[in-house]
């Protein structure tokens, strides 16, 4: 029996700026009934384009150069519009990456699901995707749902017409780790229950390890390696696959993973921060309000020179708000933040120049952090002139080229515009710009989230080198536990603006005290098919702040906020 889906030497190119840029080059694979194939690759590898061809869809401006995609025995691109529509409804369905954007804003969610046809009642579908109060939810508009809920609606919409093949394009990117786990479990159960064949597109090796039976690795539109999941993760053959697997930080690493040319992995032990290292910044009972909402509530911590402290938490936990308050972009409504040479509670504009250059911020999205109309050299020269760390123009230019070399980039890049650099290069320039003021404290606000996994490894490596060479104090904000595990000396876990657990990384990760931390670790996905979750029992809990103190001490600075097992069973609430 021929496979349900068979793609043979598919080639697609995209017309831009006058020439045809090849995006997919002779990709072939088969997807039998009930099996799940994963397409893995970094951004620009063409994996999404291939996935879309299963539904006979090519982006505006792209063209099929060669090859064939047969679904259920029919060549998709040869189908008449009518038959193509039936294929898209009944046989193949797609769950897009960003559910928020793929649901029509001006239509109620219920009607969008019903519209997909198939005769299955909407309420049953919503229950099938485990959404609470389906009747009430069906009448809501997309913007009134959380990220997780939107994705579940997308899935319900895909299942409405009882397809036989489900195409999932980065289904959980951008979701919090706990929500992501919920969605993946749901998809796995539905797939088995309905016997669906699935094509999973992802750049996250943890997700692939968990979901896929087969894996195909793509690089620049070409299939580099294809193998069953367990074989690929344990004995990768192609150098690129090896390097890819090596670059992904593991929860078990007790230091930064350095990746060699052929993908060999060497863990560099964390630098030991001498106890008498001076305190660069200390924050005491800091509170920050967003209009009526309290984003940060009574957070205290110390940051010593040469030390990396990580702020971990899901979106909405207030970690970025705290970072921006420290950088002087948002005035705290309570508590104090002091630096050796001055008070940091005031906004940057009002801080004296001497103090202002001490604390520097590096942004998450490299694309918008650099002025597109100025060369990267200008971006670095500006703080040099402003903070007076370079006496005149020539000195500034020379210093700027030095800084570019410091972040391990070719100084000649200084004359280029940001658009002509890759994501990784742009992020390094962001760091160079922060270093221009010769700061003591560097705040890194999720600087690796938007990067491909291989590039992420290098940037983390650079950050670690800098704090060792320059005794730089670094506040590292992230939602990825594995990254924090490898890089940070101490970690604070934040939930709804409150610190639930803090302590040395080693202690917190081996013996997490607070159930929320345990929940985060349980949800984290390791790039290893038969990896056991490090933590299994996650009791239900609720807050207690009774009189005799807020913390329970676990030694060596490892403190956990008091909690007690929940008295009434929590309703199966999905965030």
């Amino acid at each position: 029996m021929t496979a349900l889906v068979s793609v043979s030497s598919l080639s697609v190119s995209y017309r831009s700026g006058g020439q045809d840029v090849p995006v997919v080059r002779e990709v072939s694979f088969e997807l039998p009934e009930g099996r799940t194939l994963a397409l893995v690759g970094e951004s620009g590898s063409g994996k999404s384009t291939v996935a879309a061809t299963l539904l006979g869809h090519l982006r505006h401006g792209s063209r099929l150069d060669g090859g064939e995609v047969r679904v259920d025995g029919h060549d998709v691109f040869a189908l008449s519009p009518g038959r193509l529509r039936r294929l898209r409804g009944g046989t193949v369905a797609m769950v897009a990456q960003n559910a928020g954007h793929s649901l029509t804003p001006s239509m109620r969610v219920g009607r969008q699901i019903a519209e997909a046809g198939g005769g299955v009642p909407v309420l049953d579908l919503l229950e099938q995707v485990r959404l609470p109060r389906p009747a009430e939810l069906a009448r809501r508009y997309p913007h009134e749902l959380s990220g997780g809920q939107q994705q579940r609606v997308s899935i319900a919409m895909a299942l409405a017409a009882r397809p036989r093949v489900l195409v999932l394009d980065e289904p959980t990117t951008g979701l919090d780790v706990v929500t992501q786990r919920g969605i993946l479990d749901l998809v796995a159960d539905l797939r088995d229950e309905l016997g669906l064949a699935a094509l999973l597109v992802s750049h996250d090796l943890g997700v692939v390890a968990r979901m896929a039976d087969e894996v195909s690795v793509l690089r620049l539109g070409r299939t580099v390696e294809s193998a069953p999941t367990r074989k690929l993760f344990s004995r990768p053959e192609h150098a690129y696959t090896k390097r890819l697997l090596a670059s992904v930080p593991r929860l078990a690493d007790d230091g930064l993973a350095l990746v060699g040319e052929a993908g060999e992995r060497e863990i560099r032990a964390r630098a030991v921060v001498p106890p008498q290292a001076p305190v660069a910044v200390s924050a005491d009972d800091v509170t920050v309000d967003h209009g009526s909402v309290r984003a940060v509530h009574g957070v205290s911590f110390e940051l010593r020179c040469g030390e990396i402290v990580a702020l971990v938490g899901e979106s909405g936990s207030g970690k970025s708000t705290l970072a921006w308050a420290l950088a002087g972009l948002r005035a705290p409504s309570g508590g104090t933040m002091t630096h050796q040479s001055g008070d940091l509670t005031r906004l940057a504009r009002k801080r004296p120049p001497g103090l202002r250059r001490r604390v520097q911020l590096v942004f998450q999205n490299a694309d918008t952090s650099l002025n597109p109309r100025r060369s990267v050299g200008d971006a670095i020269r500006r703080p040099l002139r402003l903070f007076g760390t370079a006496p005149n123009r020539e000195a500034a230019t020379a210093r700027a080229r030095e800084l570019v070399r410091d972040v391990q980039l070719d100084p000649a890049l200084a004359d280029r515009l940001p658009a002509q650099l890759s994501g990784g290069q742009r992020q390094r320039i962001g760091i160079a710009r922060a270093l221009a003021g010769e700061p003591d404290v560097l705040i890194a606000d999720e600087i690796t989230t938007a990067l491909d996994v291989s590039v992420q490894a290098e940037v983390l490596r650079l950050l670690d080198d800098l704090r060792r060479e320059r005794q730089l104090a670094c506040l590292f904000i992230s939602h990825d536990l594995a990254v924090v595990r490898g890089l940070a000396d101490r970690v604070l876990v934040l939930r709804h603006g409150v610190v639930v657990e803090e302590g040395p990384t080693q202690a917190v990760f081996t013996d997490p005290g607070h159930p929320y931390t345990r929940e985060l670790m349980a949800a984290a996905l390791e790039p290893d098919p038969d990896a056991r979750p490090p933590v299994d029992d996650v009791p239900d809990w609720e807050e207690t702040a009774d009189a005799d103190g807020v913390w329970t001490d676990h030694g060596h600075g490892h403190r956990v906020r008091r909690w007690r097992p929940a008295s009434t069973p929590l309703v199966e609430g999905v965030p």
Binding site: A52, L55, H57, H60, R85, R86, L87, R88, G89, G90, A93, M94, A96, N98, H101, S102, L103, T104, P105, S106, M107, E115, A116, G117, Y141, H143, E144, L145, S146, S154, M157, A161
Partner: protein, 318 residues
């Protein structure tokens, strides 16, 4: 939602007040004055002075402005310095006539432009798109008085299908005015439609490229359903404001066309009142145009709220 409307109306009133002050100050400085205008070139200096005093033109400007605002609130916009008739009734009659043209124009222009805009957007870069874009580009480039002149030449003089000129007074009945409405409306519609087509086309193209329209297509829905259910609401949103601006522009644009067709509308009243330095009438027309502008914008806001549930349910999230 009600607070949204309340806030909008208050700011609208603020705009109206400010607009009336601006016009009063500007018109105050008009050279020559209405008294000499009324008595014509045979006027003796003392007759002029007498008339000025009788019309209260010698009182200080701000005093007259306050009186005007106070009486305007009671719906009495004073009497026209030239014809002695109450301004309110006169302006209302002219506005009614112009409303006839405006109605026909908006009907033609908006429906036609939206259909063409959507078509151009859907068949992007194909012959339909190029044809519609070039026609709308040319339409935008020819001033309405040229279009009016050519229309009169072709459809009144050469082919006597429509009257070239309106011979009735401002209080003519709709029946009398109806045959004379088509040409001015057509002249205004061509220019107005051109702007709306271009805007509709751009927004349709952007919406069709959006993720949710692609998802709708990949759900196997028919193109017609994808366009009407999913693309149109999103595409209409930015176009609404352009439509509102254009309808507001009509009050000014009408002046030129009404002059060609001698149509007794608000535009002609505007022109004659400026020539006669008839202060109360100018002020009333300026206020009317400000009201029209504000109402159009309010309508556009309400329209966008209907189309975009995000605005409607700002309160309820999660």
């Amino acid at each position: 939602m009600l607070s949204f409307i309340a806030r909008r109306t208050i700011s609208a009133l603020g705009t109206l007040l400010l607009a009336s002050v601006l016009v009063f100050l500007a018109v105050q400085a008009l050279p020559g004055d209405v008294a000499t205008k009324i008595l014509g070139k045979d006027a003796t200096p003392d007759a002029v002075a007498g008339l000025r005093e009788q019309m209260g033109l010698d009182r200080p400007a701000w005093e007259r402005y306050l009186d005007w605002v106070e009486s305007a609130l009671h719906g009495d916009f004073g009497t026209s310095l030239v014809s002695g008739k109450p301004v309110a009734t006169e302006a209302a009659a002219h506005l009614g006539n112009s409303a006839l043209i405006a109605l026909v124009t908006v009907l033609f222009a908006v429906t036609g432009a939206l259909v063409l805009g959507v078509l151009a957007g859907l068949y992007r870069d194909r012959w339909a798109d190029h044809l519609i874009s070039t026609v709308s580009l040319v339409g935008m480039s020819i001033p309405e008085f040229v279009v009016a002149t050519v229309l009169v030449l072709c459809f009144s003089i050469a082919l006597p299908w429509f009257p070239a000129v309106v011979l009735y007074g401002p209080d003519a009945s709709v029946g009398q005015l109806l045959p004379a409405v088509w040409l001015p409306a057509l002249a205004l519609a061509t220019v107005m439609a051109a702007y709306i087509v271009r805007m509709a086309r751009t927004s349709v193209i952007d919406v069709m490229a959006s993720e949710y329209v692609t998802t709708a297509r990949l759900k196997g829905l028919s193109t017609w359903r994808v366009v009407t259910r999913h693309a149109l609401p999103g595409a209409l949103l930015p176009t609404l404001h352009v439509i509102a601006l254009n309808v507001a522009w009509l009050v000014g644009g009408v002046a030129v066309v009404e002059n060609v067709f001698n149509y007794p509308g608000i535009g002609k009243l505007l022109l004659t009142s400026v020539q006669n330095r008839d202060l109360p009438v100018i002020q009333a027309v300026a206020l009317i145009s400000a009201v029209v502008y504000v109402v159009c914008n309010l309508a556009a806001d309400l329209g966008s709220m209907a189309l975009n549930p995000k605005l409607r349910t700002r309160g309820r999230t999660r």
